[in-house]
């Protein structure tokens, strides 16, 4: 198989790689905020249960979680394995990344000086207004660098979907490598990820710049 065919074949899988990437962000970014707020809840039970789930999700391999979500229903309840593997893959990714984003959100929220809350409270802002108008914009600014790190990791982690044979770019590359006994597909995959992350870096850099109109 010549290089061009290889690139085209793997390129076909890139759409699915992007699907994992964007759908994971779409669900895990807001889900992470909900988890972060539950984690910081005044209710001790809610916060400890949330903390426990976060620690499980961060303390076990994503690969294992992918297998659990994809095949778990079959082994546990004898349900058929879903035909479209994108669904279990995105569920596993979204939950896993929500746990990581939650920790980033929380550290950002905790880093806010209490004076910001007090100034807002005295001015009569409601709790929701204070969070949305005063706290959140500053938190986003603070956590953007850590978010960039996490999103770069997500790009690379999409390759994990090969464990459940979801036909994204890396899975296809691995299949070609096996059938052709060639190392080239891995190099192609590496280049794809590198370019993907260069774009992510560019976009996030622009976002950081856009938000740095003020000093903290």
């Amino acid at each position: 198989m010549d290089l061009m065919t290889m690139i085209l074949k793997m390129g076909e899988g890139l759409g699915k790689t992007c699907a994992i990437f964007f759908l994971t962000l779409l669900f895990s970014l807001p889900l992470g905020m909900i988890v972060a707020l539950l984690r910081g809840s005044k209710n001790k039970i809610v916060s400890s249960v949330t903390r426990f789930f976060i620690s499980v999700l961060r303390g076990t391999p994503l690969m294992l979680q992918l297998i659990a979500v994809t095949y778990g229903p079959y082994y546990l309840f004898h349900l058929s394995v879903s035909r479209n593997k994108l669904i279990p893959v995105v569920i596993a990714f979204a939950i896993n990344y929500a746990a990581y984003f939650a920790e980033i959100y929380r550290s950002g929220i905790d880093s806010m000086p209490v004076g910001q809350y007090e100034a807002a409270e005295v001015l009569g802002y409601s709790k929701a207004q204070t969070f949305i108008k005063i706290i959140l914009p500053q938190v986003i600014r603070r956590i953007l660098p850590s978010m960039t790190n996490e999103i770069v990791t997500l790009v690379k982690d999409t390759s994990m979907a090969f464990t459940v044979s979801y036909q994204e770019m890396f899975t296809i590359g691995k299949q070609i490598a096996n059938s052709q006994t060639s190392f080239t597909p891995f190099i192609v995959a590496g280049v794809f990820y590198y370019i993907f992350n260069a774009i992510v870096g560019f976009v996030m850099g622009r976002a950081e710049k856009k938000m740095s109109y003020y000093d903290m």
Binding site: P113, G115, Q116, E118, A119, A120, E121, V122, L123, G124, Y125, S126, Q129, K133, I134, P137, Q138, R141, Y213, Y214, D215, M216
Partner: protein, 250 residues
Amino acid sequence: MSILSMTNIEKSFGNLQVLKDISFSVEEGEVVSIIGPSGSGKSTLLRCATFLETIDSGVIAYDDNPVTTMVGDKCVYAKNLNDFRRCFGLVFQNFNLFPHYTVLKNMMDAPVSVLGRDKEEVKAECMELLKKMGLEDRADAYPCQLSGGQQQRVSIVRALAMKPQILFFDEPTSALDPELTGEVLKVIKELAEENMTMVIVTHEMQFARAVSDRVIFMDGGLIVEQGDPEKVFGNTENERTKQFLSNYNR
């Protein structure tokens, strides 16, 4: 009718009683300074008056409307605290401006989104206030682009934009370089001349003496003495006050 009255206020942090049976009131147009050594409870008193801390017992009232009532030995707060919050403004030692908002937005946002007032009307008022402060050309600047003195003046006008009946200051110049305190004190003095009702916690004794109608000296969570500034600063008979002031007059 008192704008603010605090009666028999008690406040503890754990085992540490910080306010002990504090009672005082502030009349319309009055400027009251609170002085006292570090740790005497001055900030805590202001924070209780502005609901940033909850009191253990006693009665806080604005315009003779009680904010707290004693039910047995429990202190119960009114439900409509936000209505009471409209009565006052608080100027913090370290400004606490919103860094992601411009000067104008810092001032306008609460009147518009908390009080639901008309944006254009609020904007006109805020620009007027900024002009008075000589800060109209900084309306679109961010707080980080201002000097400390300018930031504190902005935080004063942010409070004024809510049209409070009474303004509290907690050491408004303590975070400033000495050469910048003057511009902030001047603003407060001008407000005093316009009969703004104010309670000022300060270590600036000269200023307190010049600007206030009444001085409260606190020590160890108690009001040790209160009265006319000339009397307190000039010829107090209280030994503790004398001792405290002598540290400043050296």
